[in-house]
């Protein structure tokens, strides 16, 4: 009996010793990350483009923001006049849809007069830090490239103006390089031209005939249309 009691006492003592230890302490702090969508397009130059044809050379060679390439009638100094600059700031991958509000240019003196949209064309130049996908490549070919433009074959071809909506710029689906960024990342210039007959490999090209050679000849008028741009999240 005495041995049992002593054994129980010893075990009790050992168990008590087993409870002693280093004491730690903890705190838990909740952290929240609130990502608000930022999506902003800003046209910084060339919000209104007007081509004025007043010489036979203008009709024959057209007018262009890229006179050296287009071989247009206007002098180089007039280039910036036909240029639209814009920037995109987006916190997510984005796409830009554009197009003419009308199916043709509409005469202002006589609304019955129409001029085909593809008499106007443009090239797209990226002046920010993001890069185009390689010309001719399918989307997502180059990881380091954040931008993709089918109508201009990634900035290399002259595209004819289309009616709205046409997808102009989109994310390149690169797993490592999104086209999200600020205005320094996503800065673009649209170099407009009219009547320059630049037919390349773009999906929609300019008219192959100059305004001088078209049948029937365009009726003299002031032709207008609004070109719409819509910036959206590219999921």
């Amino acid at each position: 009996m005495k041995r049992k009691v002593m054994m129980i006492g010893g075990l009790l003592m050992i168990s008590l010793i087993g409870f002693s230890q280093a004491v730690k302490d903890r705190q838990v702090i909740p952290v929240a990350v609130n990502l608000n969508q930022v999506l902003r397009m800003t046209i910084t130059n060339g919000g209104n483009i007007e081509f004025v044809f007043n010489s036979i050379d203008d009709y024959r060679f057209g007018l262009s923001a890229d006179a050296a390439t287009s071989g247009s009638a206007n002098p180089d100094v007039a280039e910036a006049f036909y240029q639209t600059d814009f920037t995109v700031a987006s916190s997510t991958r984005w796409s830009l849809t554009y197009g003419s509000e009308e199916a043709t240019f509409i005469g202002t003196d006589n609304p019955a007069n129409a001029l085909a949209l593809n008499n106007v064309g443009f090239t797209l130049v990226e002046t920010g830090t993001h890069d185009w996908e390689v010309a001719g490549a399918v989307k997502g070919t180059t990881d380091a490239s954040a931008l993709f433009s089918a109508p201009t074959d990634n900035g290399t071809e002259v595209a004819g103006l289309e009616d709205y909506p046409a997808l102009l710029i989109e994310d390149n689906d690169s797993p490592t390089d999104a086209n999200a960024g600020d205005a320094t990342d996503n800065a673009f210039s649209i170099l407009w031209r009219c009547g320059t007959t630049e037919v390349g490999a773009a999906p929609v090209t300019m008219a192959a005939e100059s305004l001088l050679d078209q049948e029937p000849s365009p009726t003299p008028d002031r032709y207008v249309t609004n070109v719409l741009f819509e910036l959206a999240v590219d999921n």
Binding site: G9, L16, I17, Q21, V23, A32, N34
Partner: protein, 211 residues
């Protein structure tokens, strides 16, 4: 008659008394042993970390500039540290480590419908009050599901001087979405909008020989 009745009783009482004496001795021995055991069971130290300021850390990304440059919340949380040595033989308290991890084994920062990598958030601990020589901060560390040491303190004196929360305080800074070029793990540009949440667990661990 009366005496003859009580004699056996007295004899009986005498026997019982001897047994009681032995029982009481055993009981006293047991209590002494238990007392010694209780003495041994005293913890090696006392440790307490208290939240003084900044129990909720919000990162609000609402401009492209914030997305592009990331956000840093300096001195977002202030912690008071109480640490005392119990002078237990073989357990010499000399200081502590402050560790951090995502609470409850979380492996990502969860939003309503999306998630971010844990290392989008980085944490740093610095001396705010009272810690001089012997304090070492490891700088910004990625939040991860495992423990990461943010800072260490080793008392430079020969004997550990107890720390108290009102005179010894740590400050925790947080950063989120810092670009790689600035030493972070990349911006949150391109990440889907959502309200992401995570809990950061901070642990005060005493250090020293025997701990």
């Amino acid at each position: 008659m009366t005496i003859s009745i009580f004699k056996p009783l007295n004899h009986f009482v005498g026997i019982v008394s001897n047994e009681l004496i032995f029982s009481r001795i055993r009981l006293i021995i047991l209590l002494l042993l238990a007392g010694v055991g209780t003495g041994f069971s005293q913890e090696w130290n006392y440790a307490r970390v208290v939240l003084i300021y900044g129990g909720d850390i919000p990162f609000n990304f609402n401009s492209i500039n914030r997305y592009a440059q990331g956000l840093e919340i300096e001195e977002g949380t202030i912690l008071g540290v109480t640490l005392a040595d119990s002078t237990q033989l073989g357990h010499d308290l000399t200081g502590f480590d402050l560790n951090a991890r995502a609470f409850n084994g979380a492996t990502e920062i969860l939003g309503e419908a999306n998630s971010l990598d844990l290392d989008a958030i980085r944490i740093k601990a610095d001396n705010y009050l009272g810690f001089g020589a012997g304090f070492i901060s490891t700088g910004y560390q990625d939040l991860s599901s495992g423990w990461t040491t943010l800072c260490s303190f080793t008392d430079p004196g020969p004997v550990f001087t107890n720390l108290f929360w009102d005179t010894h305080q740590l400050v925790i800074s947080y950063e989120c979405g810092i670009p790689v070029s600035a030493g972070g793990n990349g911006t949150l540009l391109g990440e889907p909008p959502d309200y992401y949440r995570i809990e950061v667990e901070l642990e005060l661990v005493p250090t020293g020989p025997g701990f």
